[in-house]
């Protein structure tokens, strides 16, 4: 290994990156925009569910019941209809997700002390929203029954729930730390996956082959500039999450940066490996999409929890470095975890980086076919 030759390759790569301000700008704009969208627009907290009401009773009691839906904040009653048939188009077109039907004898039953019935139709196509909406409707009905009874019957068993780590149950706190892993995986895939394929595509690889540069020097030289960009991105995203979105960072920032560096190194080596295997840029881009971005997004526990995945696919997740990195990020941010808890993940990340870097070196053939 010759430091000078690594430096030369790194310098050449830097100049190429510099000449392409478009990609450079993208590398910094993308995390910012993604964080903005995830931070402000994407929330799994469900409220203001559009609701349509068919009130056959039209009494003060039925109006009060409907008002409970409004006041809860979870529902927004935006239309009233006069027949069953009229509900269909609302649910069909998605103008409402929930329909509340109050029968004629609603208030009469309540006054006489009979049990009253209310029918709720829920658009189940979005099953997650539907499940949560169902829970809310039951809670509202329960609250209304208690008010009508006048007395609060203390339930026999009172379940006291306590929520740890994210006690306001804000989905933002859950999404943003994991998002750092996704952003880094995307940047890595974009930056590194085409570097080698590009040299082949343009024919400049033959020139590189004729120079005395050795394989590990070439790969390291190609890796260093992207590592620096990726690391700058990491710092940027960490700063944005804590300062702008107020996501708590309870653990050590040094540990976070150190482990991010290992993840970056492994990911970039993997991108370069894809680039070596893919040969053409189109193939390399598809390969990078398939092997870095999608697994990081889907199989890392970022949004979809791993325990819900079928067993065979769960085994696959052990091969995905983003899985360990997401655990590390969520642990350090929300739980304040230390290396004592996270050492397995850290070890596996390092192992991945070493293996992939070696594989990239062995797979690369420095000769013309």
């Amino acid at each position: 290994m010759n430091i000078l030759r690594i430096k030369a390759i790194a310098k050449k790569e830097f100049i190429q990156i510099w000449r392409d301000p478009f990609s450079l700008a993208m590398a910094f704009l993308m995390p910012v925009i993604l964080l903005f969208i995830y931070g402000y627009a994407i929330t799994f907290d469900i409220d203001k569910i559009r609701t349509v009401v068919f009130d056959m009773d039209k009494s003060s009691l039925s109006r009060e019941f409907i008002n409970q839906f409004h006041e809860s904040g979870y529902f927004r009653v935006n239309s009233y209809v006069e027949s069953y048939k009229a509900i269909d188009p609302y649910l069909d077109s998605g103008r409402a997700r929930v329909a509340v039907v109050i029968p004629e004898n609603f208030s009469k039953n309540i006054r006489k002390g009979y049990n009253a019935q209310v029918e709720v139709l829920i658009d189940g196509s979005d099953s997650n929203t539907a499940t949560i909406a169902q829970g809310y409707t039951l809670a509202i009905a329960e609250g209304f029954s208690q008010r009508m009874r006048g007395t609060r019957v203390t339930p026999l068993i009172d379940s006291r729930s306590r929520v740890w780590y994210n006690n306001e149950l804000k989905s933002r706190n859950f999404i943003i730390p994991g998002l750092i892993a996704i952003v880094m995986a995307v940047i890595i895939a974009l930056l590194s996956s085409l570097t080698i394929a590009r040299e082949w595509d343009r024919g400049t690889m033959e020139q590189l082959i004729s120079t005395p540069v050795k394989t590990p020097e070439l790969i390291l030289g190609k890796l260093i500039p992207y590592f620096l960009i990726g690391f700058a991105d990491t710092i940027l995203t960490i700063l944005m999450s804590t300062l702008l979105f107020n996501v708590p960072l309870r653990g050590s920032i040094m540990l976070l940066l150190g482990l991010s560096g290992i993840f970056l190194f492994g990911g970039l080596s993997f991108g370069i490996l894809m680039s070596i295997v893919g040969k053409t840029q189109l193939a390399a881009s598809q390969a990078a999409l398939l092997t870095s971005f999608l697994p990081a997004f889907l199989l890392s526990g970022f949004i979809f929890s791993i325990s819900n995945i079928p067993k065979p696919l769960q085994i696959v997740t052990y091969l995905i470095p983003a899985r360990y990195f997401v655990t590390i990020l969520k642990g350090i941010f929300l739980k304040g975890s230390t290396l004592k808890v996270l050492w397995v993940e850290a070890l596996l990340l390092t192992l991945f980086a070493v293996i992939v870097f070696t594989a990239a070196n062995r797979k690369f053939r420095k000769r013309i076919e």
Binding site: I42, L91, N115, Q117, D126, I132, L156, I157, L294
Partner: protein, 370 residues
Amino acid sequence: MFERIKNLVIKEFIYYFREKRTVFFLFATPLIQIIIFGYVATMDVNNVSTALYDLDRSSESRELARRLESSGYFTIKRMPASPGEIRELIDKGDVLCAIQINRGFGKDIQKGIPTEIQVIVDGTDSNTALIAMNYINTIIGRYSRDMVGAKVNANVWRLDLRNRVWYNPDLKSRNYMVPGVIAVIVMLTCLLLTSMSIVREREVGTMEQLMVTPIRPLELILGKTIPAAIIGYFDMALVTVFGVFWFEVPIHGAVLLLVLCTGAYLLSVLGFGLLISTVSRTQQQAMTATFFFFQPVILLSGFATPIETMPAVFQYITYLSPLRYFLVIVRGIFLKGVGINILWPQIAALLILGTAILTISALRFKKRLA
């Protein structure tokens, strides 16, 4: 004119099919995506790993544990021996929630004295935590009512709420996700294909050779987008068949309508692909720009979270996303079985958006060639 377009289309297909690797990625990528998405992208909360810290060890506490397990929502994985152990289990993520039943629980219930249970939930994943908490409360509430009912025959007045779920009565999130994934996959493939195939000519230098041939800009555009559209259609068919037969997602509506609407959708997707090709010089730029473009489009389309939960500003932006309209269409056709009488506003929006984007990018493309 048709002769020239035909030749270009043939040339494109030769390029795609010359390398085995490219063919593999063109057709394997969508399949792998639908398999992973189909299995993984579920928000259903089942088998939540739970720790039970039972200090009472009475038949009542065992009954409650049995009810939690038989609901299918919880799996009791650990029986910690101390509160410290609970902390450790949750810290490590071994369990998502812990239930502590104090001494005297069974006795209190037999006497009919109100008692309490401690529930600790790891809130990191707020969505799962919320749903799990709802389930626990429902199960405990039902158990509590059964116990009261067994003691005194208290006939308390209650409001009887009947929930009926339409379109997806089992509330399977796969039925919701798979149609959406189909829309996303088609967009991804077509965007990458159009933008990269045009930029490739520019990068490798063959664009100049193309320009000295009698081919006109419009013909060039068509020659480049038609192969992408054909592959897009093929991928669409592939993943749809897979979704219906493998994942058993019901398709209640007309398949023909789906095919036609896909055409309207491809119009804007190809338009955006063309637009990306006009702003990129290298294939790397094209790929970066594609990623840069599709992520916000997917996020701001109602793919994963409902549009109405977004702040107003973002809701307006979603009107520019073709995916927004197409998602309503695919989900409508798959799950609700609705027809053109319901979906016409979305179809119209796709046609208008598609024509506008295609025109703008074609004009830009012509200018860049000149």
